[in-house]
């Protein structure tokens, strides 16, 4: 009895020891910055040239400044628009591709090759990718000269001064960069579904479309939620692509200015007060939206097991 007990304690000890690296890394790189960000948001603290102003405690003044500024909501809207524009095609193509890749009846050849190719854009640095697009779509860039020489356009189209072409380019780049990643995730989800279900369905005479909508999608829900929430968080933190594409201005008329780009502009003067407050607001928004997505997605499934319990 005694021996057994001591063994349990020893195992526990190892469990804690193995947890230490994570806890330490989390504390140093996530938790402490989180707390100091919130702490900083209550101070006036910036640099005017080479002179440091503050830190002076000013309570909620930074939040007041930010929340009373209608621009903040405009930037949130921009961010969401560009995220949705990129996410919709992303999820569509990822679902399609992963359904094809995991369908044994299609017997696709050279799958490894294609999986690698669709994942490749994700390996390029976002800033390099953005720079490339900036050059491609500049007023006298290759895209314009091709369109003009083919006679499709009479004169070069100014991609960078039109609201929707800029937003569209940002969304397109995010789509290209991330659909491979999403495809891999969804494939993992689909391969985790019991093949017996597919067989049973086809034996019962279900078509491929029916199988997809009635079996694959519902069973994929947990992975879909995961993909959606991670993509949402990533989308809210969208920065490098629009920053490089618009030279940090978010032009035309700041219609491509995202929340993090706005944050970045405050960090220019080391304005940790406003920057901190903006980060906290972003944190709250992200939390709320994630919760919303989570609720919406589970709303359907929640009721089913309950009903079964009542039966």
């Amino acid at each position: 009895m005694n021996g057994k007990k001591s063994k349990v304690v020893e195992y526990n000890k190892w469990g804690y020891i193995f947890l230490i690296p994570f806890i330490v890394v989390y504390l140093v790189f996530s938790f402490i910055p989180l707390v100091t960000t919130i702490y900083n948001s209550f101070f006036e603290n910036y640099r005017a040239g080479l002179t440091q102003i503050g830190p002076n405690f000013i309570g909620l003044e930074n939040y007041k400044i930010l929340l009373s500024n209608p621009d903040l909501w405009k930037y949130l809207k921009n961010t969401m628009i560009m995220w949705v524009l990129g996410f919709v095609p992303q999820i569509f193509f990822s679902l399609l591709l992963s359904a094809w890749f995991t369908d044994p009846s299609l017997r696709l050849k050279a799958q490894g090759f294609f999986k690698t190719v669709i994942y490749l854009p994700n390996l390029i640095m976002a800033s390099a990718f953005s720079m490339l697009f900036f050059t491609l779509f500049s007023n006298s860039g290759p895209v314009n000269s091709i369109l003009v020489s083919l006679g499709i356009l009479k004169e070069p189209f100014k991609f960078m001064t039109n609201v929707w072409s800029v937003r569209g380019l940002v969304a397109f780049m995010n789509f290209i960069m991330w659909f491979g990643n999403t495809t891999i995730l969804l494939m993992a989800g689909m391969m985790g579904i019991d093949p017996n279900l597919f067989e049973a369905a086809s034996v019962d005479g279900a078509t491929a479309t029916q199988i997809f909508w009635k079996i694959t999608l519902p069973l994929l829900r947990p992975i879909l939620i995961y993909v959606m929430i991670t993509s949402l968080i990533g989308g809210l933190q969208m920065f490098d692509v629009p920053q490089i594409l618009t030279n940090g201005n978010g032009d035309p008329n700041r219609c491509a200015m995202t929340l993090i780009m706005y944050l970045n502009r405050h960090l220019f003067s080391k304005n940790f007060g406003i920057g901190g407050a903006l980060s906290v607001i972003l944190f709250v928004i992200t939390g709320l939206l994630s919760l919303l997505v989570f609720r919406l997605q589970y709303a359907g499934t929640d009721s089913k097991p309950r009903r079964r319990a009542h039966d």
Partner: protein, 467 residues
């Protein structure tokens, strides 16, 4: 087993490289130690040390700047400078370390601020010794204790007597102390494309073209003529921004308030008209489209700029460019102006004052070296007698300008520069107004919206300002 061996190998390589990284640093430091004293003695013998009783001069000379211009001046014209690699050089025993951060979006200033604020606590070999400042923000550094008075280096007013007065006024702090020295003067001219001039006006003669651009109304009329011939008058509205900026009535920030000067309003007005008439391009300064005008197929009629623009930006090194074929010519343009300029400043806390003194004296006061700079780089140097002599010199001609000698024009321009109306905020002001007004020119915003956006953008960067 094989896998295990491999992992052991890999981890030992990793560990070794980490150790080597540390070891390398301390090793070279040790090696440098004994040489330090020797060199210090030598230098003291060679030239008087400016700072009193400084046990010897540093082994590492840190230079902070934003492009290759000063580096090439030092490489080509400073006696005894040897290039080691792209970011390192050697002057005697001293290792020169170049810290180059691009200027755009104030990146250079941010980096410099960070380093200067930490200067007091930095080890001697990591302290900034010399850094360069541009007119747009010179005052921000000059008016602090982070820069050393030039007199403290042992440089006298007599040494600098040949320099243009405005180059000294610009970097004199609020107590009247001179804090920087420049090797160049930056009077600007209008630089036009000879081929285009012949095609449109039938002549590339300077007097005839000057007649076409003598004031802004004529400039606008000419621009429309140029546009009708399939050219753009300038690559974009930013090109002649500096002319209006220079001719401002007052400074762009007064008592903490951002002011849009009437002259800047005039720039907006002229640009809107030209933009709507499609008489100018839509390039922003330094961007891809802006650079295309340096080639014949870019179809740009003219640029505005001082000597450094001709030398440094016009792609003369590329044989396909207009500059390489000598296809440009210079004329005074609608209004005189000056643009930019680079000043050498000594950072407080430097351990190489005598080296800084020597660099300043050689590059900014030595007649022979300055003449060489003009001949080799076509820069306009900050030395009145040399420039006046060379303006008369028939043997000097500027290849980019097709054999024209523009120095007389520059001399006249430099004489007329009374003062630069600068503030510490000019770079932000310039970058942001150009970006904001682009929305107005493009028709994406009204003038008031664009101004509002401009003010906001400046205040974001400088929360201490208001509008």
């Amino acid at each position: 087993m094989k896998k295990r061996m491999l992992s052991i190998l890999l981890s030992s390589v990793l560990a070794a490289s980490v150790l080597a990284g540390c070891g390398g640093g301390s090793g070279s430091q040790q090696a440098a130690e004994p040489a330090k004293e020797e060199e210090a003695a030598e230098e003291e013998a060679a030239e008087e040390p400016a700072a009193d009783a400084e046990g010897g001069e540093g082994k590492v000379f840190n230079i902070y700047c934003w492009n290759e211009e000063f580096k090439s001046r030092l490489t080509d014209h400073y006696p005894g400078y040897q290039e080691v690699d792209a970011t390192h050089g050697k002057i005697g025993d001293v290792d020169v370390v170049w810290n180059i951060t691009p200027n755009q979006d104030n990146a250079y200033q941010n980096n410099l601020d960070q380093k200067l604020l930490a200067q007091a606590d930095a080890p001697a070999d990591e302290k900034i010794d010399l850094f360069l400042v541009e007119a747009d923000y010179a005052i921000k550094y000059v008016d602090t204790d982070y820069t050393l008075p030039i007199a403290d280096l042992g440089i006298t007013d007599a040494d600098l007597s040949k320099q243009f007065q405005y180059t000294k006024d610009t970097v004199t702090d609020s107590n009247g102390v001179l804090k920087g020295v420049s090797w160049q003067g930056c009077p600007g001219v209008l630089i036009y494309n000879r081929e285009a001039a012949k095609e449109i006006f039938g002549t590339d003669d300077q007097a005839a073209i000057q007649e076409k651009v003598k004031d802004w109304d004529t400039f606008i009329a000419t621009a429309k003529e140029v546009a009708a011939a399939g050219y753009k008058m300038t690559a974009g509205p930013d090109d002649y921004y500096r002319v209006f900026d220079f001719n401002k009535e007052g400074r762009s920030v007064q008592d903490g308030k951002i002011v849009i000067d009437p002259s800047i309003e005039k720039w907006i007005e002229v640009s809107k008209e030209l933009y709507d008439a499609k008489a100018i391009g839509s390039a922003s300064l330094w961007d891809e489209d802006w650079n295309k005008g340096f080639y014949p197929e870019g179809k740009v009629f003219c640029y505005f700029g001082p000597a450094w623009l001709i030398d440094f930006s016009m792609k003369a090194e590329d044989e396909k460019s207009i500059a390489a074929q000598g296809g440009w010519a210079a004329t005074a343009g609608p209004q005189g102006f000056a643009w930019g300029g680079t000043w050498i400043t000594a950072a407080a806390g430097t351990d190489n004052p005598s080296l800084i003194k020597d660099i300043i004296l050689k590059l900014t006061t030595d007649d022979e070296i300055m003449k060489d700079i003009v001949v080799k780089d076509n820069d306009f140097v900050n030395n009145k007698p040399v420039m006046e002599a060379m303006a008369q010199d028939q043997s000097y001609s500027n290849k980019v300008l097709g054999g024209q000698n523009p120095l007389g024009m520059f001399c006249e321009g430099a004489e007329n520069i009374a003062e630069l109306k600068i503030t510490a905020y000019d770079q932000t002001f310039t970058e942001q107004i150009q970006a904001a007004m682009k929305n107005y020119f493009e028709g994406n915003a009204t003038l008031d919206e664009a101004k509002e956006a401009f003010f906001k953008a400046v205040v974001e960067k400088h929360p201490e300002l208001s509008y």
